[in-house]
């Protein structure tokens, strides 16, 4: 009887101890897993923020460099070319007085070449720094970009917006949308062999949507993602969007071609008017 009692208590204590261990184990796994997940999430967030900061810095540097080149082109080469044009004009008068037709013809050709070079330098400068964007906003900048493209290419580019006056957004956001539009249109011209491009800019209370559709050969976005074929252009778009919490989606319209839709949360411009992005001012760009 004594042994039976002892056995009963021994079993009870052993079972209770084992159960306590089991409870502790379950609690430990739950707690430890939660802790590790939180830690992992924290590290991921830090990494993500760091990457975003790196990307932001890289893009800022790119814009600063663009501005510096534009400035150098305008201030140095532009000035030199203007002076050359002036000198050629004076020389042209002397040559005209001499009456030598051959010299006159060479002189005119030289003048024409210098004028053409001045125009090229102006165009490159404007391409490097979208001054219209800073001064007048996204819609005007896109219209100007389209106008220039239609002059140079045999293309029909349609642009429409759901608002007459597109509200001004933060400098970074406008520049991001503009660069993405540039990249998508350039991609369509380079790779899609298209004849028509539609650009749609839409804004609602929360989001800004930019849709670029072409009637070219099109591409399978899934295949591009799977085969890691995304070129620097598409990666650049995604990188720019990551900084402003935007997304991009590629579609294949039923009628052919391809369509890209970038969506970015609205970020209205602050009360202070942004400093104009002017190529003629030597300062660092803060986008």
């Amino acid at each position: 009887m004594q042994n039976s009692e002892e056995l009963k208590w021994a079993l009870l204590i052993a079972s209770m101890a084992m159960l306590a261990m089991a409870f502790c184990m379950i609690a430990f796994v739950t707690y430890y897993q939660k802790k590790r997940f939180e830690e992992e999430k924290r590290i991921n967030d830090i990494e993500k923020n760091y990457n975003r900061l790196l990307l932001d810095t890289a893009l800022n540097s790119e814009e600063t460099e663009r501005r510096r080149i534009a400035q150098d082109l305008h201030d140095d080469i532009g000035t030199m070319l203007s002076l050359t044009k002036l000198s050629l004009n004076q020389l042209s008068k002397l040559v005209a007085n001499s009456g030598d037709e051959k010299e006159e013809s060479i002189m005119k050709k030289s003048q024409s070449l210098v004028e053409e070079t001045i125009l090229h330098v102006r165009r490159i400068t404007r391409d490097l720094v979208p001054t219209t964007l800073e001064r007048f906003g996204l819609m005007e900048a896109i219209e100007e970009f389209i106008h220039k493209l239609e002059e140079d290419n045999n293309l029909v580019i349609a642009f429409q917006s759901n608002t007459e006056e597109f509200p001004r957004q933060g400098q970074k956001l406008e520049l991001t949308l503009y660069r993405i539009m540039q990249e998508l249109v350039n991609n369509a011209i380079k790779h899609a062999s298209c004849t028509k491009i539609d650009i749609v800019l839409e804004i609602d209370e929360e989001m800004i949507g930019l849709r670029v559709t072409d009637n070219g050969v099109g591409f399978d976005p899934e295949k591009i993602k799977e085969s890691n074929l995304a070129g620097l252009g598409l990666l650049g778009i995604e990188s720019r969007l990551a900084i402003v919490n935007g997304t991009v989606q590629y579609e294949q319209p039923a009628k052919g071609g391809s369509s890209a839709i970038a969506r970015i949360p609205v970020n209205p411009a602050s009360g202070n008017k942004p400093e104009p992005l002017h190529p003629f001012r030597r300062e660092r760009v803060n986008i």
């Binding site: 039976s4 056995l7 009963k8 079993l11 739950t30 897993q33 939660k34």
Partner: protein, 231 residues
């Protein structure tokens, strides 16, 4: 007939609840359509087999007939079904081989133990519970659960364990087998016709945790949703 059953259930309420509570996770498996997951499908087969065996044992026990042969035979069957769940949960080849080997090992060992614990196997009236097989099953099952816990901590693939069905299943099994592991070898000597040893409350501890185990299974199955589980 009903009187016999009700008399038995009233005399042994805790162990009877442990039998009938199995209906809860079975019902939930059907309503939540948890069959789509292979592990939960095996758990469902286990629950159905357990319910059938438990009801048969309850019938025999109510009629004062030795039912221990069913308990003994259920050991390899239950281990195969429960171990099979872990086979589908583990991703490593070594763990899968360990699960398969242990299922075969437990089956062979259980059959040997039945013969070892019963000199005359044809005498079902004097049939005795296995001496080691249930303990071995418990040790292996606890090992599998701990190995699985280690895997989920290492892989960090499950964001919230409390909404992950298999975590609840493992927790239930861990508690049940922990409550049984020290008691299992003693039951070989206790569950006899001429038993003089009274284990008191200790004897019902496994039944209490069997009930808790079924409740935890139910919580796990309730948390199952085919869409989120696939993610």
């Amino acid at each position: 007939m009903f009187d016999i059953y009700s008399a038995y259930i009233l005399t042994n309420p805790i162990s009877s609840i442990a039998v009938f509570i199995t209906i809860l996770p079975i019902t939930l498996t059907i309503t939540r359509q948890a069959f789509s997951d292979k592990s939960l499908r095996l758990l469902f087969y286990y629950l159905v087999a357990k319910l059938i065996i438990d009801l048969t044992m309850l019938h025999f026990a109510s009629n004062r007939t030795n039912n221990l042969i069913l308990y003994n035979l259920s050991i390899p069957l239950f281990y195969a079904l429960l171990g099979g769940m872990f086979y589908f949960q583990f991703t490593g080849r070594a763990q899968k081989i360990f699960v398969l080997t242990s299922i075969i090992g437990v089956s062979v060992f259980s059959i040997w133990d039945i013969f070892n614990s019963n000199e005359n196997l044809s005498d079902l009236n004097e049939h005795r519970l296995v001496l080691y097989a249930k303990t071995v099953e418990g040790v292996l099952m606890i090992s599998l659960i701990l190995l699985y816990f280690y895997e989920i901590i290492k892989s960090l693939e499950i964001p919230n364990l409390l909404t992950f069905p298999f975590f609840w299943v493992c927790s239930g099994l861990l508690l049940y087998y922990s409550s049984l592991i020290f008691l299992a070898p003693v039951l070989h000597y206790v569950y006899t016709w001429d038993n003089q040893t009274d284990l008191g409350i200790t004897e019902v501890i496994p039944s209490i945790f069997e009930t808790l185990c079924a409740v935890l299974f139910s919580v796990g199955i309730y948390n199952f949703s085919p869409g989120s589980y696939a993610k």
